[in-house]
């Protein structure tokens, strides 16, 4: 996994990576990263994650990408809605960090 995380170029790659991170962090068995559509809701009816999963995920994301997630604001909830939105958020945060 580590070689993947070093140089992520395309959004798809990052999305796949985040899907894998979700699977690893939350021990989602019987699911492959490619099986989770990037626009599927992570919470509620979609992947069925809950608020504690979100906390766990936030910690994992922070560790992996060294990003900061400010608080439980509406924004944060938006970022966590799908894999695509998470990937966009991580990308934006990284750019912000580097800049």
């Amino acid at each position: 996994m580590n070689d993947l995380s070093q140089h992520v170029s395309s959004p798809q790659k990052l999305q796949l990576e985040i899907a894998q991170l979700i699977i690893d962090t939350l021990n989602l068995e019987d699911i492959a990263a490619a099986d989770i559509p990037a626009d599927q809701p992570l919470f509620g009816a979609g992947l069925g994650l809950d608020s504690v999963d979100a906390l766990e995920l936030a910690l994992a994301l922070q560790k992996r990408y060294e990003i900061r997630i400010a608080s439980d604001s509406k924004d944060a909830r938006q970022h966590f809605s799908t894999i695509a939105s998470l990937a966009a958020f991580v990308q934006a945060q990284r750019t912000a960090c580097v800049a």
Binding site: L28, E29, A58, Q62, A76
Partner: protein, 320 residues
């Protein structure tokens, strides 16, 4: 169980009136009169709270009754003296707390019972180790945290508290000239708070949190068996442990034969849950904790300082 009884007030509200006022008054009186001279006055104050606090009396009776029944120890059955004794024990602990915070209760006077070597781990955190969680209780003197901070020498100890009493206590601490501990107000676990706590653990800081009280407005909780009857215990500490993946230890400070004794014991090495089994895993830890707490109650039956209706059910609307 809820509807028929008179509306019970939550412990946080009790505390607002009782313990804080009492504590503030005693703090003042101790300063002016000295502790020994205060003893008869204290006796009167406690008598006042004892006589006027009908529901607190009833709650203490209920606790003593259940402890006696659960343990099969008849001598623990409640009577007027034993109920009053519990009030007195509380008053005494308030005085002791003031001593602790004013640095009058020296570390050497406190006995440490630490068969699991937790203090050694605490000290290791200074040299790059991860922090851990300490679960405290309102059985005995919770301000043992102060002593723990000293035990840990330079290891920062963050005490997580639920409510606005932080200000009250910080004020008292300031008055006492103590700025060694950090009190962190945690009303709800949000991502920002989790990240902050996670970073503290990685830095080798320790977290202390009470395991025997459900916060105001319900909070996350579950019912477990305590002294033979279902009682609401908080899920927060265990959730925190699982999310931060750090070891959990129990701490308890009881006054035995006039001396404080700090008990430290490892409780969970590596908290984790299987997918879909989170609630069950947490509940299992909570039940094990409640069982352990019940055992500890037998060591100092009158030092149970929860004077609110401990076995009340929490309104469904408050549940998460």
């Amino acid at each position: 169980m809820t509807g028929t009884q008179t509306k019970e007030r939550h412990w946080a509200l009790h505390k607002e009136r009782g313990s804080f006022l009492l504590m503030k008054f005693t703090a003042f009186a101790v300063r002016v009169l000295g502790r020994r001279a205060l003893a008869p006055v204290l006796y009167l104050i406690v008598l006042y709270f004892f006589v006027s606090g009908r529901s607190a009396r009833r709650n203490v009776r209920q606790y003593q009754h259940r402890l006696a029944h659960w343990s099969g120890r008849n001598e623990l059955r409640p009577h007027l003296r034993s109920v009053f004794g519990q009030f007195m024990a509380f008053a005494e602990s308030l005085l002791d707390r003031l001593d602790v915070w004013r640095g009058k209760l020296r570390l050497e006077q406190v006995q440490l019972v630490d068969p699991g070597g937790i203090r050694a781990q605490l000290l290791q955190s200074r040299h790059g180790g991860r922090g851990q969680i300490l679960i405290g209780t309102h059985l005995g003197n919770l301000d043992v945290c102060r002593a723990m901070a000293e035990l840990g020498e330079q290891v920062p100890l963050n005490v997580l508290v639920h409510n606005r009493h932080v200000e009250h206590f910080n004020r008292l601490l300031d008055e006492a000239g103590d700025r060694g501990l950090r009190l962190i107000q945690v009303s709800e676990l949000d991502t920002a708070m989790m990240m902050d706590l996670s970073q503290r653990i990685e830095r080798g800081e320790w977290l202390a949190i009470a395991g025997d009280r459900v916060p105001l407005h319900g909070g996350r909780h579950a019912m477990v068996n305590f002294l033979g009857h279902p009682a609401a215990f908080p899920q927060g500490p265990w959730l925190l442990a699982g999310l931060l993946r750090c070891p959990v230890n129990l701490m308890c400070c009881l006054k035995i034969e006039g001396r404080y004794r700090i008990y430290l014991e490892p409780f969970i090495d590596a908290p984790a849950w299987e997918r879909g089994q989170r609630d069950a895993a947490i509940k299992a830890w909570m039940q094990r904790y409640a069982d352990r707490l019940a055992q500890q109650c037998l060591q100092a039956p009158q030092q149970w300082f929860n004077f609110y209706p401990y076995w009340q059910t929490i309104e469904a609307s408050d549940a998460h």
